[in-house]
């Protein structure tokens, strides 16, 4: 990746450093986490990568249902994958 490493945020409380310009979905994957648990209890991660499928939704700074593939990481963001 040509992007310089710059942004530190937390995913389920653990710190993750990602390159500037990385999406929250990339940060969640780097933290080794699925994004959400489906209504019947199976783990899910990004499918479309373009904001259509909603499989990548997470909670960011308390706000639910954020599509992590469409949102860029910001320093100090608090990401939770407990939805």
């Amino acid at each position: 990746m040509p992007m310089p490493s710059a942004v530190t945020l937390t995913v389920n409380g653990a710190e993750v450093s990602v390159p500037q310009g990385a999406t929250v979905a990339a940060a969640v994957a780097m933290a080794g986490q699925p994004c959400r648990v489906s209504v019947s209890g199976s783990p899910r991660g990004p499918l479309c990568g373009m904001g259509i499928c909603f499989e990548c939704r997470v909670r960011i700074d308390g706000r639910s249902h954020c599509r992590s593939c469409q949102i860029l990481c910001e320093p100090g963001m608090d990401v939770k994958t407990d939805e």
């Binding site: 479309c48 259509i52 860029l72």
Partner: protein, 444 residues
């Protein structure tokens, strides 16, 4: 320059991919007051998004970026259009704001998405779209040293495999479901499109050493918590390949939800347009993938024509008709070469989920005779993706036709819906300084 969205744009463009950027730029060059709105935090669409935001070696992207930059266009990123309250007023939602966008002429350049097909294990984490995984890697997902099986159908597979290899991934195999006969016919017809053939040769060189197999498709993915291996059908026998990711897409589906909502005539899954790219509704134009899946070159020229026609520069638009006609043939050739084979209809088991939002299985959906009935009784297609993934699936599996589109075309906050559907909307005034590209959050 201060612009507020309470006064109408002469030309408003929805979608900031190649088609939308070309349309906005040409309309602005004609002296129009032009706005462009995109759901994503960055312009560029599926193919140029990363290139537009970073130093890129993509010459074509760089050229269009500088042309676009030189034109005066009000850019609204991270805003997704979800509703039209009355003719001439669209509503878009951002992470924490809501805007009414007024227009005199409208250009819809909403692009396409990948088609996904269900097979056992397709819901496991790290089973992604081919373009989906590419987008994730472009936006920061480390892929070096990972093993990625690429499968499905369409020209995107090779492009994605080549890109992932450049980024350091190992690609054990690329599985294309189309038969060799169809691919050879397609390759033969490529001579008619010089740029395309150069592209294919370049890919071939980049792909040297990676087996590309036709007549091959995924039948199941296995893994605990995430994919660990994929079983493919290859020349009639099954083979299981260990992998970290499966990048799997079955060509593209046009995003016609917004054109349908506005009442534009749809034919065979695409928006019907006249020679000026005008839809069945006067003053509403459509360009790029929603009028037919043809790739970036035809999207660009359609965008230019729509932009010029939307600005009233008809004779300038006419000069581009010949170029478009040639490129459009390519779209037809693509559809024929990558037609889906019937074996793909029998991949799902009774337990395989069809609707990933609501976890509705094949067995439950199969009991119904229409999309409408399945929706009402099983909640298939009622989740946040609003059937964008499972709609095309049921269309292929059961030949169900989609229902008419109702607002909002994306899940929206209740507050936004209330404001957008109120009789006398009170739009938020947006000034130039507040419309910088910003990441998009979603609340419901």
């Amino acid at each position: 320059m201060n612009k507020d969205c309470t006064s109408p744009f002469d030309v408003l463009v929805v979608g900031g991919g190649p088609a939308g950027m070309a349309a906005a730029m040409r309309a602005a060059e004609c002296g129009m007051n032009v706005g462009i709105v995109d759901d994503n935090a960055r312009l560029g669409g599926q193919i140029w998004r990363a290139a537009v935001s970073s130093d890129s070696h993509d010459k074509e992207a760089a050229k269009w970026q500088s042309l676009f930059g030189a034109a005066s266009v009000t850019t609204l990123c991270g805003k997704r259009v979800f509703h039209q309250s009355e003719p001439g007023v669209l509503w878009a939602e951002g992470s924490d704001d809501l805007i009414a966008l007024r227009y005199k002429n409208l250009i819809l350049a909403t692009g396409a998405r990948e088609r996904f097909l269900p097979f056992p294990g397709w819901t496991l984490p790290n089973v992604m779209g081919a373009g989906g995984l590419q987008a994730m890697v472009k936006s920061g997902l480390p892929i070096a040293g990972k093993s990625v099986v690429v499968a499905g159908t369409g020209p995107l597979l090779l492009a994605v495999a080549a890109y992932l290899r450049q980024q350091g991934a190992a690609i054990p195999i690329v599985c294309e479901q189309a038969p060799w006969s169809a691919l050879l016919r397609f390759a033969g017809s490529l001579v008619k499109w010089p740029a395309k053939i150069a592209q294919t040769f370049r890919l071939k060189k980049e792909m040297a050493g990676t087996p590309f197999v036709a007549n091959s498709w995924p039948v199941a993915a296995q893994g605990q918590g995430a994919i660990e291996s994929v079983t493919i059908s290859r020349g009639g026998s099954l083979e299981t390949i260990p992998c970290d990711y499966l990048a799997c897409g079955f060509h593209l589906v046009a995003n016609i939800e917004l054109p349908s909502l506005l009442g534009c005539e749809i034919r065979g899954g695409y928006v019907n347009v006249d020679e000026f790219q005008q839809t069945s509704l006067p003053g509403i134009f459509c360009a790029g993938e929603p009028t037919g899946i043809g790739g970036v070159e035809v999207s660009l020229v359609e965008g230019e024509i729509a932009g010029l026609a939307g600005a009233g520069a008809k004779s300038q638009a006419q000069r581009l008709f010949k170029k478009r006609a040639k490129l459009r043939n390519f779209a037809g050739a693509l559809d024929r070469a990558f037609a889906l084979r019937s074996e793909l209809r029998s991949l799902a088991s009774p337990q395989t989920l069809i609707c990933r939002c609501e976890d509705v299985s094949y067995a439950r959906v199969e009991e119904h005779t229409s999309w409408r009935s399945a929706k009402l009784h099983t909640r298939c297609g009622m989740g946040p993706c609003q059937g964008r993934i499972c709609g095309p699936v049921t269309e292929f599996l059961f030949q169900w036709s989609p229902e008419s589109v109702r607002p909002p075309i994306f899940p929206s906050r209740l507050k936004s819906l209330g404001a957008a559907t109120a009789k006398a909307p009170e739009p938020v005034v947006v000034t130039r300084s507040s419309v910088k590209p910003r990441p998009l959050g979603m609340g419901m």
